[in-house]
C-alpha cells in the first residue's frame, strides 16, 4: 500500500519533470531540422538531420552576427561578475572588518535600496548614461549592473560569520589589513563568492531589458537581445532562431550541471530571481 502510493507519486513527478524539459528537448531537436520541416512538423524528431543551421549561425552572417553577440555576452557577463565580486568583497571587508565610520548605516541604506523595483531606475539610468556618452557601449551594460546591493549584503552576512581570531593571529604576525584581506578573508569567503559569482553571471547573461534600452547598434547586441530582435525581423526562420537559442542556453546548462546544488539553493534561499 505504502509502496504503491510512493510508486504512483514517483511516476507522476517524473512525468511532470519530463514535461517541463520537453520544450528544451524540442528546441534542441529542432535546431537539427531543415526550415521546411519545422513549419510542417510531421514528427518531433528530425526526419533529415542537418547541421546547416549551426553552420550558418557560426559562419558570421552579416545580418545576424551571432558570434559577435556571443563574444559581447561573454565579455559583458564575465566583466560584470568579476567587478561585482571585487567591489562587494572589498566593501564588505571595509564594513565588517575595518569598521569604516558610517559603514553600518551605509549597509542599511544599501538593503533599503534593494527593495526598490528595477523599473524605477530604467529612465534615470538611461539619462545618466547619455550624460556620460556611454549609451550603445559595453560600459552601459557593465557599470550600472555592478551597483546592485545584493552582493555587498551577501558578502557582509558571510564575512560576519568568519571567526575573527584567524585574522587577529595574522595581524599579530605582522600582516597588514590589506594582506589579511587578500590572504585570509578572501580565501575563507570562497564559497560565498562562488555562489554570488554564479548568480551574477546568470543574471547578466540572461539580461534582456538593459541591452534593449541602452544598446542601439546591432554589433553591440548581447545574445538575448540579438536573438529576440533577429526573431522579430525574420519571424518565420524558427530553425535558425532556435539554434541560436540553444547555443545561448548551453553554457548555462553546462554550468548548471556542475553547480546545480549551489544554484538552486542560493536562489531558493534568497528568493531572488530575474
Amino acid at each position: 500500500m505504502k509502496t504503491a502510493r510512493s510508486k504512483i507519486i514517483w511516476v507522476i513527478m517524473v512525468a511532470t519533470a519530463l514535461l517541463f524539459i520537453a520544450p528544451l528537448i524540442v528546441m534542441a531537436l529542432t535546431s537539427f531540422k531543415h526550415e521546411s520541416e519545422v513549419l510542417n512538423p510531421e514528427a518531433i524528431i528530425p526526419r533529415h538531420w542537418t547541421m546547416s543551421n549551426f553552420r550558418y549561425v557560426l559562419s558570421y552572417p552579416e545580418e545576424a552576427p551571432f558570434v559577435r553577440w556571443l563574444l559581447n555576452s561573454v565579455f559583458v557577463s564575465t566583466t560584470v561578475t568579476l567587478l561585482v565580486l571585487v567591489f562587494s568583497s572589498m566593501a564588505a571587508y571595509a564594513i565588517t572588518r575595518l569598521r569604516v565610520p558610517g559603514g553600518g548605516r551605509m549597509l542599511g541604506v544599501i538593503v533599503v535600496t534593494m527593495m526598490l523595483p528595477a523599473q524605477l531606475f530604467l529612465v534615470p539610468v538611461y539619462l545618466i548614461l547619455s550624460w556620460f556618452h556611454w549609451l550603445d557601449t559595453a560600459a552601459a551594460l557593465i557599470v550600472p549592473a555592478t551597483a546592485g546591493g545584493f552582493g555587498v549584503f551577501m558578502m557582509c552576512a558571510f564575512m560576519k560569520a568568519i571567526p575573527r581570531s584567524i585574522e587577529e593571529a595574522a595581524l599579530i604576525d605582522g600582516c597588514s589589513p590589506v594582506g589579511v584581506f587578500l590572504h585570509v578573508n578572501l580565501p575563507l569567503s570562497a564559497p560565498a563568492m562562488a555562489t554570488l559569482g554564479i548568480f551574477t553571471f546568470i543574471a547578466s547573461w540572461n539580461d534582456f531589458i538593459n541591452p534593449l534600452v541602452f544598446i542601439d547598434s546591432a554589433r553591440n547586441y548581447t545574445l538575448p537581445l540579438g536573438i529576440a530582435l533577429y526573431q522579430g525581423s525574420y519571424s518565420t526562420e524558427y530553425a535558425l532562431t532556435l539554434t541560436t537559442s540553444l547555443l545561448a542556453t548551453l553554457p548555462l546548462i553546462v554550468m548548471f550541471m556542475f553547480f546545480q546544488r549551489q544554484i538552486i539553493e542560493s536562489m531558493s534561499s534568497t528568493g531572488l530571481k530575474d
Binding site: V14, A17, F20, V100, P124, T146, V152
Partner: protein, 292 residues
C-alpha cells in the same frame, strides 16, 4: 590614534569602488527620477526641461486612458499568476517531498526552464503558440480539436502569457517550498499523524501553518515581480491584442523610449512604485491578521 586613522583611510579606499557605482547608479538615479517626474522632459525637442509640477501625475491618473488600461492588464496578470503559481508550486513541492528516490533530479529538471533567458523562452513559446504552424495547435489537430488563437484573442492572450511564465518560474518556487517542507521537523508531522491529523487534514493543520513564513515571503515577492511584468508580453504579443497584455512597465518603456517623454515615463514609474509598495504593505497586514 594614528593607527585608527590609517585604518579608516584603508577602509574608505576599500569602500570607494562600490561606493562610487552605488552613488552614481542607485542614489543619483533615484534623485534624477524624482526630479524628472515633475518635468516635461522631451528628448526630441530643442528645449527639453520645463518644470510642470504635478501635471505628469495628473495626466496619468485623470487623462490617460492607456495608463488605466495598463494598470488593468497588470492586475489581471497578477491575479492570474499569483494563485496559479502558488498552487502549482505547492503541488510540485509536496510531490517532490513525498518522493523517496530521484527527488534531487526532479527538482533540477523542474528548475531548468528558469535558466533560460526570457528572450529564449519567449521565442520558443511564440513558436509553440503560433496559430498556423505552432506546436500546440499541431498537437490539438492530432487529437481532432480545433486550434486555439493563443496570442490573438483578447481573452486568451493574457492567460497564454501567464502559462509561459509559469513554465519559466514555477520550478524555482517549488524549490523554495520544498526547502520549507524539509525544514518541518519530522517529529511534528509524526505526532500529528498519531493524533489522526494525516493526509489532507495534516496538510491544513500542520504543514500549511508551518510554511506560513515561506509562503508569505513568496507571495509578496511574486506580487512585486508580477507588477513588473514586461518582457514576456513585449516579446510574445508586443502588448497586444488591443493593448490587452500591455502592463505598466511596458507603458513606461513605450512612453520613455518610444515617445521619448522621459518625465512622463518617470512619473508613471513612481505611480507603479507606490502601487507596489501599497499592495505589499496590504498583503503583509492581511496575512499577519490571518496568521494570528
Amino acid at each position: 590614534m594614528t593607527h585608527r586613522r590609517s585604518q579608516n583611510l584603508v577602509g574608505y579606499l576599500f569602500m570607494l569602488p562600490y561606493g562610487a557605482v552605488f552613488l552614481t547608479f542607485i542614489v543619483l538615479p533615484f534623485v534624477v527620477s524624482l526630479v524628472l517626474s515633475f518635468l516635461e522632459y522631451d528628448l526630441t525637442s530643442r528645449h527639453p526641461a520645463t518644470f510642470i509640477g504635478f501635471r505628469n501625475f495628473r495626466e496619468a491618473l485623470f487623462e490617460d486612458r492607456f495608463f488605466w488600461k495598463a494598470v488593468g492588464a497588470t492586475f489581471q496578470y497578477v491575479a492570474l499568476m499569483i494563485p496559479a503559481q502558488l498552487v502549482l508550486a505547492m503541488l510540485l513541492a509536496l510531490g517532490m517531498n513525498a518522493m523517496t528516490r530521484g527527488k534531487q533530479t526532479v527538482r533540477a529538471l523542474l528548475f531548468m526552464p528558469g535558466l533560460l533567458s526570457i528572450a529564449v523562452t519567449a521565442i520558443l513559446w511564440q513558436w509553440f503558440y503560433n496559430e498556423e504552424f505552432g506546436l500546440f495547435n499541431h498537437l490539438l489537430k492530432l487529437v481532432h480539436l480545433p486550434g486555439v488563437p493563443w496570442l490573438s484573442n483578447l481573452h486568451v492572450a493574457m492567460p497564454s502569457v501567464v502559462l509561459m511564465t509559469l513554465w519559466w518560474t514555477v520550478g524555482g518556487s517549488a524549490a523554495v517550498l520544498l526547502t520549507g517542507l524539509q525544514q518541518i521537523p519530522a517529529q511534528i508531522t509524526e505526532a500529528a499523524a498519531l493524533d489522526g491529523a494525516n493526509g489532507w487534514r495534516g496538510f491544513w493543520m500542520i504543514t500549511l501553518p508551518m510554511l506560513k513564513p515561506v509562503l508569505l515571503f513568496m507571495v509578496v515577492m511574486n506580487t512585486i515581480g508580477g507588477f513588473q511584468m514586461f518582457t514576456q508580453s513585449l516579446l510574445l504579443t508586443t502588448g497586444g491584442p488591443e493593448m490587452a497584455t500591455r502592463g505598466v512597465v511596458q507603458l513606461i518603456y513605450d512612453t520613455a523610449f518610444g515617445d521619448f517623454r522621459l518625465g512622463y515615463g518617470a512619473a508613471i514609474s513612481w505611480l507603479l512604485f507606490i502601487m507596489i509598495a501599497g499592495f505589499s504593505f496590504l498583503q503583509f497586514r492581511i496575512i499577519r491578521r490571518f496568521s494570528e
